[in-house]
Amino acid sequence: MLDVKIVRVLALAAVLGVAGCGGDSEDAPASTEAAPEAPKAVVVYSSRAEQLIAPIFAAFTEATGVPVEYITDDPQPLIARLQAEGENTPASVLLTVDAGNLWFAAEQGVLQSTNSDALNATIPDYLRDPEGRWFGLSLRARTIVYDARELSADDLVGYEDLADPKWQGRLCLRTSKKVYNQSLVALMIARHGEEKTEAIVRGWVDNLAIDPTSNDTRLIEAIADGRCDVGIVNTYYLGRLLRDNAALPVGLFFPGADVGGVHVNVSGAGIVANAANAGGARQLLEWLAGAEGQALFASSNLEFPVLEGTENDPVVAAWGAYTPSDQPLVDAGRLQADAVRLMDRAGYR
Amino acid sequence: MLTVDAVSQRYGSTEVLNALSLTLGAGRIGCLLGSSGCGKTTLLRCIAGFESIAAGRIVIDGVEHAGDGKHTPPEHRPVGMVFQDFALLPHLSVADNVAFGLHDRPAASRDEEVARMLELVSMQDFAARMPHELSGGQQQRVALARSLVRRPKLLLMDEPFSSLDAGLRRQLGNEVRAVLRALDMTALFVTHDQAEAFALADDIGVLRRGQLLQWDRAYDIYHQPATREIADFVGGGGWLPGTVTANGRVDTEIGALRGRLPEGVAAGDAVDILLRPDDVVHLDDAPLQARVTDKEFRGAVFLYELELASGTRLQSLVPSHHDHPVGCEIGIALDTEHVVAFPAA
């Protein structure tokens, strides 16, 4: 009678087209320790685009022999998916951009703590979760660009200064819907408090030359077209445009340490709470933070490496050194919702 | 009221109407009779203005609406139309269907006129119904009311009864005739059914391959068909062979008959004489005997299929109390004023 039920369950499963009956996931390590088998694949849920991660994973597999499988999607659906899958998830690593998303994934309990000396040594404190649930793997600097025909670096101070009335009708901003701006404002809240930050954001809105653009590329083009003089973008967008057209009359300015340094965000990763292959996951993360991984990871998107001494793409290297703001990025996640509400109040669309 | 003058129409290289002419007097009901594909519907659509003509002219109520490259659009012709299958607008109620033609009138006079038209076709109790809730006959009446509501000078009807059963057809035919008479309306309809044509029409035209073979009063089309083809197409009957005599009569097996002779025949030529079923009457004591080969009960009358001793086949309409079995001989006589003769087939 019991057997009949099993058959029924299995028949139902077969009808529904069950992909995997992964019953061996728990017992496998114990039984296979002796026999050297091909290493188990690491499954990655990634919100970084396929063309950026595929070559890096290929290099990882070549170096270690560990295969990598991945699925790309937006960060929030991936987090919801991990929650829904629970202990049945095939994933071991969540790879995504933006500290806010990493912070939220950790809050939702889909990431587990890792205490890796290699990761802790490479990655500065402020670029990772204090509890070791996620690690920044590349830096994305959000800084100021300007019309090089009208201005020079001497005319610029920092983000807060762009709220000054002297920039009236000269500022371009990307939409507040973009998480980069939300992180920027979140960390301003952490530094200045809500009241002062709101005054700064209102100042920005008053200085806008055109409606907020839908992306950073449009913003840089608007400066090149002379429609505004100054704006805030992620450096790699400028890098891409410079790679195609080195004569673009747009300059890059890094705010100095005296005004808090350059706002940075990260792309990063964490090990999934119910990881089927936690060992492989850790191996992947450590490799990504190592010399070989960093060289590939940062340069694939013209970003900055977290490992000091990694060689940069020539376009990036030409911008010279900068001082990143060392505010803990976990605050960007914690205060992101506050930042969004603040920008809504200030009328920053 | 309507003059169609040498109208031609072609689709590509196919000639659909060939120099067709007819005249319909005011207050008369005309009918174009022909099998499908003869061009009758095309002529109707040309008169209505849905199609432009290649040559000729169309004059309605003294105004030329088509001809010499001129083409009045349908909405500017004083013409109403009852479409085949009625084409009631399914999303509008009966009253709204009828009122549809009065879109350019003030609401008050519109309602009054709709009520009047519905009463004329005895549909006043159905004003709020939707078309799909009506029987075929009721839909026909609504379609008639709708086409008349603008008081056109000329009403056109495309196969007006083809989707109704025979009993309903006759009854509605009478009603439609009464309505048209009441409004003193001139009307032209097309049909492939001769019974329908005779039931409704004053004047009938027979169409064949785009040509009007004959246009005449209904009685003449029946009893004085212009050609043997028309005679065969319109109404039943039989052909009695005979020979033309010197004094212009025709000698037949049942005696000498007087009638219209085809042009160019001379004494001694063989001809066939058309005898309609009502030309042949049954008299019990008549000397001429014919054998009953078949019979069809038609209520008040029998239609007898008869055969003379010579093998000539005739038809006869006989009051139905004269019930003779198939195979027996009965006495017949001719009751004709003028017979029509054609050269022998």
């Binding site: 685009a49 790309t72 659906p77 829904a84 049945n88 819907k177 998480v179 | 999303h91 549809f100 939707m130």
Partner: protein, 531 residues
Amino acid sequence: MRLWTLPALAIAALTLAPLGVVAASFLTPSGEWGHLSRYVLPEVTANTVWLVVVVGLASLVLGAVAGWLTSVCEFPGRRFFSWALLLPLAMPGYVIAFALSGFFAYSAPLPSTLRDLGLALPDPSAGVAAACCLSLTLYPYVYLLARQAFRTQGIASLEVAQSLGMSRLQGFRRVALPLARPWLAAGVALVCMDTMADFGTVKVFNFDTYTTAIYGAWFELFSLSAALQMSVLLMLLVVVALSLERWARGSARYATKGRMQGSKRIALRGWHSAAATAFCAVVFTFAFALPAGQLLVWGVSSLDGEWGARYFEYFRASLVLASLAAGMVTVLGLALGYSERRAPGRVTAASARIATLGYALPGTVLAVAFFVVVAGLGHALTSVARWFTPGVTITLTGTLAVMLLAYAARFMAVAYGPLGSAFERITPRIDDAARGLGATGVRLLTRVHIPILRGGIATAALLVFVDVMKELPITLITRPFNWDTLAVRVFNMTVEGEWERAAIPAIAIVCAGLVPVLWLHRRTGDDAGGA
């Protein structure tokens, strides 16, 4: 309960289950409503209402006029436009939006040249730009359904109007349009639902709508419950709107009877004919030629690094998924329409309403909710199975079957629109007559209904096919490993802002979409008469 209500209930359950997950969000109170209702909702509600009304009306005008011209009239270019005007369907809306905004960008060749000549192009507001783009991408829904309506109604009813003293234009307005109402309403309903749920296009123009606010609450404020609660309100709005339309139709029927003068067209002459050609040409240029041309320019410049053997895999995945989904959703749509016909009543009507709601939800919300249901089912099955086999895990997610069911939950409205209105053309008398001849049950469906519904079935299958080709959120979350489609490739490019490189997969989607568009065009026999 009658037997024929069961298929309707089963199909409705496909959508009802994820909707249940969404509605369950009300069990988790959200603290964001105070902020949202003060700073966000007033603006986005006004924006959304404005956008839906403008896009709905514009699509109605574009679709109905183009549909009328190409199905009933004759003018130079008619044959070409009759299928070419369907082409925008094959392009993802946000790609058209991005291509058009690239073409008209401040520094693009045309605006620059015009500026040099002293002619400044108007700089439309975000809302106007988004409305234009959405209308240009969505009008084909109305166009396709309007053609189906006008072709089956023929020009007979127009002649009725003319015989009653109306001009052709009056006849079009007073007869042809009202008679096509179920089709036009179905098309406009699809357009409005699509507009409400649109995220990609409005994002390109940075125009805030209710849907951007839903995603904002979820992605930015990290409040999934607020996002889901807003989705429920959005859906209630759709239910009310659809019910109002049904109610306004009352007991009217739209089955025209009698001979269709199908093969006869109105030959337009003089400036009428020139205006018809010009109208179609302008629509085609802005909705397809310009964006496609811009994509080609971008595509050529990125061809080297992008085009490769892997595109074979993308093509295969896209075509397999779209074909399977088109077949399955159309069959389910037929079953739904047929249930409604065989067992008319509140149960089937409500089922049809629910089954078509999936289209009005923001795509990612439905995708995640559906995933939650399937994953939950997997957990339940696993716990049952473990009583018998300890350690066994049953995973339903990541299978093609689940993917197809999710598409069904999303696109039932797309299939049901053309099918439901095609059912309107079958008079009850046809059923009676067929039953009198011994055709009942399935025989009635296969021998009588399906031949009459052919046009509707082909339209439904085409719409689902091209929609699945473009679909993203469900594909992203339910696809098995290594099942990337062309649309996923577009996503991978655009997510990093590399719009120019997205041109190649976007062009590939258009090419793959051309196949069914041309097939449908031949199938429905553009010059053949009647239904």
